[in-house]
Amino acid sequence: MKKLFEHVGEFYNQKVSKVIDKIKYALTHNFILRYTSIHVVVFSFIKIRVTNKRRAAITGLTFIFIWIVGYLIFSLYPMAYSLYLSFFKVRLDGANIQMAYEGFNNFKAAFISDPYFVEILLEYVMSTIINVPVVLVFALIIAMLINQDIKGKGVWRTIFFLPVIISSGPIIGELINQGATTLPSIANYNIVNLILENVGSFIADPIQNLLETILLVLWFSGIQILILLAGLQKIDKAIYEASMIDGASPWESFWKITLPSIMPLISVSVVYTVVSMSVFSLNEVIIYIKNVMLGESTVGTLTTGYGYSAALSWIYFLTMVIIIGIFVGLLNVKRRSRR
């Protein structure tokens, strides 16, 4: 086996690499492009000095070249095209697309004549704003628990990373249908009902929703646990020892050492949480947009088809960006005021 590899290596050194060198030489020493020691000469009259900075820039761009191409083809073009379509009324007849210009009517219709969309969107905003902190707090608690000196670390970690595997698939939907993600006993607690009765429905509904779906919400915290745990492991143990000698309690050292050092990671987790919740396939808004796209929602004449659903998607996207902006902004304000 080793000999075979040696053979291959020898063959490569003697034959293949020489051909590659020749091709390289031909590419860098022809009449279009000539590579001298400090100049690149294009068409033998444009001389460009090769500085270290320029060389680095060119190398860097070659490395990310595939990304730029991919971005243009698979991200920018579809995004631009769908933005373009959102100003039209689009009908798909087999392979043909029939389009009629609508201006901003699609966007107007979403807010004015669509009876469901605004309601669903507001519900989504409320539930996201409530759920994200819950996910983060739980992820942080779990990450800190696993980071402790506990027995059977491997077993615990295996359990707590299960969501990474399971919640990305359709299985979680199946479990929701069968009621495996709700705690049956939580609704029976009187205290909960007492709280719910004494606040307005605007606050009470999301809370009740949260209690009903608390297990599901916790299932979103898989990756966040991973991110936060990695951050916790990076904190120098010596800092804790030093603070303890100065008489800090564990409670204080959590607020003064742990939290500030993982603050950037908390922002990352916030972004991740919002995104993963928003593109989750059982999200109400996503389902609604999909139904509109497939023509299954028959409200009025305008509110069907791809043009309208593209407009809805863009509104949804902007809402997501605003939510992320609010969260990240809040975290940053807190950080700045502490300084």
Partner: protein, 329 residues
């Protein structure tokens, strides 16, 4: 055993102290045991930690346990309300139904082809792109970086139809190419996260390593393959595994791009099977009652390969995260 010995010694000590009626010292000893020197090493703290761990772990394990136990149930067990957790007998009938109907081994092979190849290409491309972003300065770098992060936030609904039409124009629908091409160009499923992971990791490699290689005459590409990549092994493993899991579980895009072809991810195949199962048997029949269990059996079969992979690579998943650069500094 060690704990038992400790307990015995503690007991003996306590008895001698009790005999001597040295209550002050007993109080101190007990305090030391329950609260510890600095609270975090006392018994109270341990109890708190473990009870939290167990209750939180229960939350995560509950659906899995529910799924596994219920998938073994017979019709009688499902109808019988008193049977909630432990089925009266282990019958593999549900599993046999699913296994035979979807041709499990073949379906699994398809599913792995569909997830391994895109995952591999995504790993390779994101390593290259991450290296480019991390090690070199070029004009518009910040803008490109922000654009990359935005691709992660954009919901798939926005890009769905144009991509679909593009793929159908170029005849990529119904084949695995519809997944591989975007992955090769760094636009695969959650591609931005993987690029970010590699970016963070490659940023941590000291510049002097690169410079010394340059002095020895290594080209940029050689630096990447001979120095950066071997160091990045933990990141590579993490990215590959994540990508594999996400492609394996993917139903939204694969349902769209692979419609009408023989290739199918395992979750889709199980879904299809369940749908046909429901349409064959009328409401209220015995087989229909059984469906709940059959569905769960199908889900267990879907999840099982992933769980096995996960247990094998569990250490890599967990131990190497602090070295993968998942943390953003």
């Amino acid at each position: 055993m060690k704990m038992f010995k400790k307990l015995k010694a503690f007991n003996r000590e306590m008895i001698t102290l009790l005999k001597a009626k040295d209550y002050k010292q007993i109080g101190q000893k007990l305090r030391r045991v329950f609260v510890g020197m600095k609270f975090t090493d006392g018994l109270f703290y341990k109890i708190l930690i473990y009870s939290l761990l167990i209750s939180l772990g229960y939350i995560y394990l509950y659906p899995v346990l529910y799924m596994v136990t219920n998938s073994f149930m017979t019709v009688e067990d499902i109808i019988n309300v008193s049977v909630k957790w432990i089925p009266s007998s282990f019958n593999f009938e549900n599993y046999r139904i699913v296994w035979q109907d979807i041709g499990y081994l073949n379906a699994l092979k398809d599913a792995f082809i569909l997830s391994v190849l895109p995952a591999l290409s995504a790993t390779v491309s994101s390593a290259i792109i991450g290296f480019g972003f991390a090690r070199y300065n070029f004009p518009l770098k910040r803008l490109l970086f922000v654009l990359m992060i935005i691709t992660f936030i954009v919901p798939p609904q926005i890009t769905m139809l144009p991509t679909f039409r593009m793929f159908s124009d170029y005849g990529l629908l119904g084949s695995i190419k519809a997944f591989i091409y975007p992955a090769i160009l760094g636009q695969g499923l959650n591609g931005a996260i993987f690029i970010l992971i590699f970016y963070q990791f490659f940023k941590m490699i000291p510049k002097s390593l690169e410079e010394s290689a340059q002095l020895d005459g290594a080209s940029n590409f050689k630096i990447f393959t001979k120095i950066a990549l071997p160091l990045a092994l933990p990141s590579i493993i993490i990215v590959f595994l994540f990508s594999l899991v996400w492609y394996y579980n993917e139903t939204y895009l694969s349902g769209l791009f692979l419609r009408g072809s023989d290739l199918m991810t395992l979750p889709l195949r199980v879904n299809q099977f369940i749908n046909s199962f429901t349409s064959v048997y009328p409401e209220g029949s015995r087989a229909r009652e059984l469906m709940q269990a059959v569905k769960l059996a199908g889900n267990v079969l879907t999840l099982l390969p992933l769980l096995i992979i996960y247990f094998i690579f569990q250490r890599h998943f967990v131990e190497s995260i602090d070295r993968t650069g998942i943390t953003g500094e």
